[in-house]
Symmetry: C2
Subunit: 174 residues, 2 copies
């Protein structure tokens, strides 16, 4: 849809459409509906970023905790959101060897014990090797630095999900 179609949605339809742009956080879409009309996709995205940035640190950690593990229980059980399923599959997380699955599980568990939220990375911008490398690397960060890293990844994921739903600003000017 183009931005004017997005602007014309009722809050119910807006939340149905954009409620998972931030994983399992319909509140973000439900909140930014107050700021309609959006001039363009960039403004819609900026409102999402603004909402996240204004949350207290515990709220940012809350956003992170609503995400599934990479190559974790939800992937194995088939209980990922459709967005996450597509993203994790594309990054090769659905076709790990048993050894790679075991390694991911071990690294995810250590990471969660250290930080109290799951390791999040924009899977569509990374392949399997890069994900494993960055999981190891980022585990060495302190909490404040890593929270910031993880929130930056949430914003990248949201940006790509949004671009699957709304035409980019340049396209609908043609």
């Amino acid at each position: 849809m183009d931005i004017s179609s997005a602007n014309s949605l009722s809050y119910e339809d807006f939340v149905d459409t954009f409620g998972n742009v931030v994983e399992k956080n319909p509140l973000v879409a439900a909140a930014i509906w107050s700021h309609r009309p959006f001039a363009n996709l960039s403004e819609l995205e900026a409102r999402i970023v603004e909402f996240i940035d204004k949350l207290p640190e515990s709220g940012k950690e809350g956003i992170l905790r609503c995400h599934p593990d990479l190559a974790g229980r939800d992937l194995q059980r088939g209980t990922l959101t459709r967005d996450s399923q597509d993203e994790q599959s594309q990054a090769g997380m659905a076709s790990l060897t048993p050894e790679e699955t075991a390694r991911m599980y071990r690294l995810n568990t250590e990471y969660k014990r250290r930080f109290g939220f799951p390791f999040i990375i924009c899977a569509k911008m990374n392949n399997k090797a890069a994900i494993l490398r960055k999981l190891s690397e980022r585990s060495g960060n302190d909490l404040a630095k890593e929270r910031e890293c993880a929130i930056d990844e949430v914003k990248k994921i949201s940006s790509l999900r949004l671009r699957n739903l709304v035409l980019p600003d340049t396209q609908h000017k043609l």
Copy 2:
């Protein structure tokens, strides 16, 4: 469970348990997990209230927009959360006459057009007659006043849901 059991939950189990204390807003539970350990149920509840109160006005409206209509589409389709289903049934919303259903639909529609969020009331603290009366009355409020009213009702609903999950402070001192 008692408060010490709640304090010992992983964030995954905490969000599974408390994720709908604020309707369809797992973010609230996921965020307040950062504040463990809670001294008692009162502190757990106070953290939820604090999270909601610190949201910007658009965020408070977002919380409201994640709620279903009373006696609305989700009730008819059986797609309410289990909490909402229990609460609406107990208040007689599942056994309205066709005339009452039509009146609720009309009043809800007018309310949503006026305020941009659904009419919310703690159904367990009201009966059918009181709900219909207050829906009419509150429709006359201005936006700021009504947003405040509705958020107060969200807090009452959350408080009762929380008390279904965690033993009151007095009980576990016995």
